[in-house]
Symmetry: C2
Subunit: 250 residues, 2 copies
DNA sequence: GCAGTTAGCATAACGGCGTTATGTTAAAAA
DNA sequence: TTTTTAACATAACGCCGTTATGCTAACTGC
């Protein structure tokens, strides 16, 4: 074939191949969706054979797993750009907005992260899920501050964080599935959901409304801080990403 | 092959083939998950060739669509067994519980209904989604009663219904994905979510707590009323299901 | 009753998929 | 320098959804 046009092809630990596969997979996923993620196509576009996918990731599952980790890393990026202010409720609302923005910016990636079923029989391991849950710790900490500030009822901060997570995850999922339309579009439901959660957690209607509005204004800053990211414009060098080596067919 | 052991094989409009395919597909989906849904396997287990899938459903997408309709029909079944009482908040909470119970009883079916991405490149049409949204009307009506009874703030009943939907959908999705564990398990988050939603909608903490507890007691009756259903134990006769004919390759 | 039409389905093939067995080769180890 | 090792190419296996073709039984009009 035309696998390597020039036959230099370094045989041991080519440092180009692995990140190239990851970046191409991420681009295919972002541009054409999950069905474009095939070992054959990725390898072809990377100028190598399908075996490269197996030596580097142990198979398609390993590459998909890499995408999932990338997705959580991007989410963590957004969360880390949410600053702590004197209004913890506005902060936690902003975390919710950041979560939604990340999902809408990387819709296919988000679908792979939580789609669970199908996709070449891929399924996450317990460790993968723990890695995803860890992302919640930022929200838990913020919920604790809301309770300390007596904006939320005394009780479980983790419970509040889980409520926020499940609620916004559901909204984003149905939004990406185009189930929310016209007068009851995702934006209206989202703000209502957010406000309702704050009230349900113990905040007053007035305070909640003000904090949610405040978070709306602050979102722009967060989004700008995270860029550039959308599809991975960087040259192809490696960056923050799990070391995680592939099992070499043992 | 052994396609039809006895070679009687009526050639025109065999009334057995179509429901047999649907029932086998439903069973495979329930027993082994989405990856077991293949035209070849379904046809083999039905004793026919893969062409039967195409003449009856126009391809795998058509059969998957049939599964989606079946899923919404089952959900509607649960909703129709939720009776109207003097406590509309308990009623709407019970709708939420019924929604969750249906999803947990038919997890793979629920995944196909809202998994959206992948699964042999299948995707729902706008009409399919409208069919799914229609299921919400039961909840909207109940939310209206909550507002009329002055348990919820005056405002949009559809908005409240969408909040409930997105919140519980998100919880169920993460629950099925095994993201909710141990001390913050799905049951705790669900009840907190439910109570929080009622308070957020305008109900008082005491009333909401009482209504949510009431709905917990009433769930059993609903579940018993819906059976039998889990995997489709019936002989194979047709039943409530969309007429929807397959495009004959025109 | 009969001929022409039609539609359900069997057979077989096509291209694409994930995966694996095997060989080749360049870098690391001795 | 020699041996070992691991990254990758090549080619094949079995699966998938889909399609082209042909057969035949049921409908259609006479």
């Amino acid at each position: 074939m035309l696998c390597n046009t020039v036959k230099v092809s370094p045989r041991r630990s080519n440092p180009q191949t692995r990140p190239a596969l990851v970046d191409i997979a991420a681009r295919l996923l972002a541009d054409e969706g999950p069905q474009a993620l095939s070992a054959r196509r990725i390898a072809t576009e990377a100028g190598s054979s399908t075996m490269a996918v197996y030596t580097n990731f142990g198979g398609m599952s390993g590459l998909v797993r890499e995408m999932v980790y990338e997705g959580f890393a991007r989410l963590q990026d957004y969360f880390s750009h949410v600053s702590r202010t004197a209004d913890p409720v506005a902060d936690i609302a902003l975390l919710g907005r950041a979560y939604r923005h990340n999902a809408l910016t990387n819709p296919h990636l988000y679908a792979v992260m939580f789609g669970g079923a199908s996709l070449a029989g891929f399924s996450l391991t317990a460790e993968d899920r723990q890695y995803g849950r860890y992302t919640l710790s930022t929200v838990v900490e913020c919920a604790t501050r809301c309770i300390t500030a007596e904006r939320f009822r005394a009780g479980d901060a983790e419970l509040v964080a889980h409520q926020l997570w499940t609620a916004i995850h559901g909204l984003v999922t149905l939004e990406l599935g185009e189930y929310l339309i016209e007068p009851f579009d995702a934006d209206r439901v989202f703000e209502a959901q957010l406000t309702g959660l704050m009230i349900g957690a113990g905040d007053t209607l007035e305070e909640a409304t003000r904090s949610v509005a405040s978070s709306r204004r602050r979102l722009k800053k967060v989004v700008e801080g995270v860029r550039p990211d959308p599809v991975d414009d960087r040259p192809a060098g490696d960056r923050r990403r799990r070391p995680r080596q592939a099992a070499p067919a043992g």
